[in-house]
Amino acid sequence: MEGNEAELAVVLQDLHKSFGRQTVLNGIDLKIARGETLAILGRSGTGKSVLLKLIIGLQKSDSGFIRVHGKEISGLSLEELNQIRKKVGFLFQEGALYDSLSIEDNVAFPLARNTRMSQAEQKDRVRQLLSSVGMEKDLGKMPSQISGGMKKRVGLARALALEPDILLFDEPTAGLDPITAGEIEDLIVRLREERKMTSIVVTHDLHGAKTISNRVALLHEGNILIEGTFDDLQKSEDPFVSQFLSQSS
């Protein structure tokens, strides 16, 4: 995808990452425009989640460049990196809610640590966020008392707490029943339409990717094998793409 640097939310250039002798990412080039939803598809263990963690600086790349809103993130101090992180929300695969905190405190956590909001303002904001994901009735519950789908909703509310410009989703519908998965997909689409957010969604759910994304990229053997619209993917004659599509549908 070509684009003016100012219009691009995230740029990955010649990105490499290995764990020991195992190469996970082998020269990834990817550009994500502002307001776009990109779905990254691929088999399990191909480095999709690693790619998301590199974007937010939770892991360090071996080489290559990552620019978020035009700012190169490697070499930033922790304070500078945290300024970027405040603009990027991350929904983890299992929600990653803090076990020892209630649903309300989980969502309030980024607000309490990163803003000067009063307790009352925080409470209002938390209620508003939980209401936007349909969880306003459960704010006193602990994470162990709610289902997997509910954890993802709360995780999404927490990811939205600091009003990020970019949202990263790690397998948002994995392990959910079709109805709950559909609800999560609707939420993602609604976020894109209402807040004009840039989203990167890592998934191996083809149906979900088609519903929520403008563009898809297929990761295979450490590289982007194909990138384009869902139709481009379906028209591809690459044997792996055909196999991936036929096995997934």
């Binding site: 929300g89 991350f90 983890f92 990653a96 803090y98 076990d99 956590f109 995780g155």
Partner: protein, 279 residues
Amino acid sequence: MKERPIYLGETSFPKPQTNITQFGELVKSSLCSFFEWFGELGIFCGRLVRAALTPPYEGRELIRQIDEVGSKSLLLVSLAGAAIGVVLSLETSASLIRFGAESMLPSVIIISIIREMGPIITGLIVCGRVGAGIGAELGSMKVTEQIDAMEASAVNPYRILVATRVLACTLVLPLLTLAADFSGIVMGWVTNTISEPISLRLFLDTGFKNATFNDFLAPTIKTAVFGLIIGVIACFQGMRATGGTEGVGRAATNSVVLSSLFIILADVLLVRLILIFFP
């Protein structure tokens, strides 16, 4: 690097290695792991110091951790101290009677407890209870991506999770040692009184007659180092946990084993230093 495929008719057995080569490889990998562990510990300590010394400070979380480490260990540590007092009284009275020195019993019990038994027992008991707890808690947070989620929320986990726990352990250990010393001395007196009645006041007067303030102060402060060891090792093991529930179990076990080992090693060194500086 891709592995070369093995074709039909070709053996898949690896090339035989001599025992010496295997032994060399084993020594090399063990040495690498050993130095890697210390290197990672050094980086971890650097992050911990930076997080502990720079604002904002996590006062509320520190108080919560002091309660978690201190209040909840108090009963266990007091019971262990009491048991040590009883055992010391029973064991030493028989020996002292044999040498006609039973009048020394209060001194032997009190000096043994405040100089060594109280501090080391407190260190090892807290290491078992708190070290395992911290290792398992942080390990579980690590493998379920809660620590990643914290970092993604622009919050430094070293500040909120590590610095508070290490500081709580360091501050609380000397206080818990006082509790262990107290219960040990009281139960030493009770045990002694059952066989040979003696007033508590006389027991304490006789016992503390030969003790100096240095006998009490340096060994009690020594336990702050034990607390530091427990906090650092347990948090370090928890923060580097990998591999699901198995990794959490490993982090908890390693926290206890390594903390206990380092406490005993530190005790040897600190006793020597105390004897030099507080003769």
